[in-house]
Amino acid sequence: MNYEGYRTRKKGLLILAGIILLILGILSAGCSTAAEPSEVVAVPQATLPEPTDADASSDSSSEALVVTDGLGRSVSFDADPQRIISLAPSNTEILFAIGADGQVVGRDAYSDFPPEAMEIASIGDTYGDLNTEAIIALEPDLVLVAAITPIEQIEALTALGLKVYMVPNPMSFDDLFESLETIGRITGHESQAVALVADLAARVTAVESAVGGAEPVRVFYEVDGTDPTAPWTTGAGTFQQVLIEMVKGENIAADLGGWGSMNLEQIVERDPEVIIFGEGAWVPTTSESLSDRSGWEGISAVLNARVFGVDTNWIDRPGPRLVDALERFAKVIQPDRFE
């Protein structure tokens, strides 16, 4: 019995050691993947703003500017904010596009475009768990949040006395342009924002006139094909649907309403002529792999090799690159209009 007891104890120790090794292994693997954002955190002070040049002149500084944000709250500005924190990749892209990048002192960990944005201090790894202390430490005079920011976060930041502006989610290009101009006004880059909008609007109009009167084309948009027998797609009420309809496509999942997974047999029956899949760092799908899937072989889009990837960041981040997405959709859905 003593011997048995000794053996069990020895075995117990071995198992304990094994478990500890496993935890250490996973943690070290995790650290190596998480290393990238934390390195960025380490560099912050180098790129803090030198008060910007052009916008000092546009600062008329007579009366306070009052704007209504996406939550219906009035936010007033006495002067152009010089220490902005962007808590959404779309906001970061907009700030850079209108030339307000010099005023940005912090960003969320997902703001990775344009590449220069990566040089700005990152304050949080996930949307749900922002590092409030890091935000406060940067002493922002404006925090730009978006529809993806949890409402509790917005309330917490507001309660701390920070000026928080929520950029609404656009449901059309007009919405987007309005947001761009508002952010331009707030940050003192109105003329740049107006010029950007004029340029983007011209590109949208060009696409619209190119596809005018085109025959409708059946389109399937795949958000995620992890389960190829029931891939995730987007129906009515999503920007994908807006883009597809603007270029005279017909979303075969329109009746789904929002996001959801759709049975493969229904896709086969509705027989899309074009398949567009969201392309991103974590998406393993390629045109070839999608076409090779079992059961997909008879779909017109696969038979005619009209399966295309689109960078999901263009669509999922409601910023200036939505126009890139529109042009891409137009070229793959109505190719004969762009020869």
């Binding site: 048995e4 053996r7 069990t8 075995k11 198992i15 478990i19 496993l22 935890i23 996973i26 943690l27 693997a29 995790g30 993947t33 998480a34 790894d125 996930t126 995620d224 992890t226 389960d227 190829p228 027998t229 029931a230 999942a253 009746d255 789904l256 959801g260 997974s261 759709m262 049975n263 493969l264 047999e265 229904q266 086969v268 029956e269 027989d271 760092a281 974590w282 393993p284 799908t285 390629t286 792999s289 999608l290 090779d292 899937r293 079992s294 059961g295 072989e297 008879g298």
Partner: protein
């Protein structure tokens, strides 16, 4: 004797239910195929007479519904057979295929494979089920070796070790998911309902494990009956209790791990179906295990039809339906059985 008649009747009834569910499963879906065309396609394949049927229907039937039907049936069989065996082994009505760590081990394996982010689409997808299988088997072996006290494996230690190791594996899974945020949504997808690769590959890959495992489980009915008297008494009756336990654990875990690898963690089938069979046809494990296997296939086939049709074109995870439909049905049976005899 009355018993023998009910026995023979139970086999044909279970087979009939399974076959009709199989037919229902391929005949009904979000896209309505005329029943005449389904039969023409099925018979046409057998007799190689080319039917004049819409080619889209042929693709839906041969490439989508048939392989899905076979995989679903096999999964249901594996879960119910494994659940019945674990309930007998643990002499506990709450045991299910996941009780000693198959599900949590498979989850850890799958998430590890996903976090490693494999390059190509197909390779990446085939790696996940394989890793889930390895994770499940390793977890069960770990639980078994922890639970061994000297030369015997008390049932209570086995369950407790299973609970502890499962919680640990689940914690590690969550940790990995938190650390690799980009893969998070694929991992969540897998945890919620697994994902089917589609086509015949998963069917062919799982058949060898399931055939061997289910065959062994079906043979273990008689010793399982003896085991119901308790370890000591079974030993006195001349049963090699330890050998029975290890055989049961290996066979039941292997089939459950295979099912989880290709179809995800589907709750309730392994718990409920053996009870239903027990309520209908009695607790004799010689019949209980094979009948649970047949009825498990039938149950999951039915649940799958509901999952595909009820919110079409939206697809639901089948595990959601097994729980939503299985629980009330189980309570109803329980209520009826309370009036007559005890049910365990």
């Amino acid at each position: 004797m009355k018993k023998d008649r009910s026995a023979r009747w139970s086999w044909s009834a279970a087979l009939l239910v399974l076959l009709s569910m199989a037919l229902l499963n391929i005949a009904v879906g979000p896209v309505s195929l005329p029943f005449r065309d389904v039969m023409a396609l099925l018979l046409g394949k057998l007799t190689s007479i080319p039917g004049e049927v819409n080619p889209t229907f042929a693709i839906i039937l041969y490439s989508i519904r048939l392989p899905n039907m076979v995989l679903i049936a096999l999964t249901g069989m594996a879960l119910a057979g494994s659940g019945a065996a674990f309930q007998g082994l643990f002499r506990n009505p709450l045991a299910d295929p996941y009780v000693i760590g198959v599900a949590s081990g498979a989850g850890l394996g799958a998430v590890l494979a996903m976090a490693a982010s494999w390059p190509a689409d197909f390779l990446g997808m085939a790696v996940v089920p394989a890793a889930a299988f390895v994770g499940a088997i390793l977890t069960v072996l770990l639980v078994y070796s922890i639970a061994r006290v000297g030369r015997s494996t008390p049932v209570t230690t086995l369950i407790l070790a299973g609970v502890a190791v499962s919680s640990f594996a689940t914690a590690m899974t969550s940790l990995i998911m938190l650390l690799s945020t980009e893969e998070l949504h694929r991992a969540v997808n897998w945890m919620v309902g697994g994902f089917s690769l589609g086509g015949w590959t998963p069917v062919l890959a799982s058949i060898p494990y399931l055939a061997v495992g289910l065959f062994f489980l079906s043979l273990l009915g008689r010793p399982l009956n003896v085991l119901q008297f308790g370890d000591d008494q079974a030993r006195q009756l001349g049963l090699n209790v330890e050998r029975l336990k290890i055989t049961l654990v290996i066979a039941a875990s292997m089939v459950a791990a295979t099912a989880v690898s290709f179809s995800g963690i589907i709750a309730f089938v392994g718990l409920v179906v053996p009870h239903v069979v027990r309520l209908l046809w009695g607790p004799d494990y010689r019949r209980l295990i094979p009948l649970a296997i047949l009825m498990g296939g039938a149950f999951l086939l039915g649940a799958d039809v509901i999952a595909r049709v009820v919110l079409a074109p939206r697809a639901l995870p089948v595990g959601l339906v097994t729980a939503a439909v299985g629980a009330p049905f189980f309570l109803y049976l329980l209520h009826r059985a309370k009036a007559n005899v005890g049910f365990w």
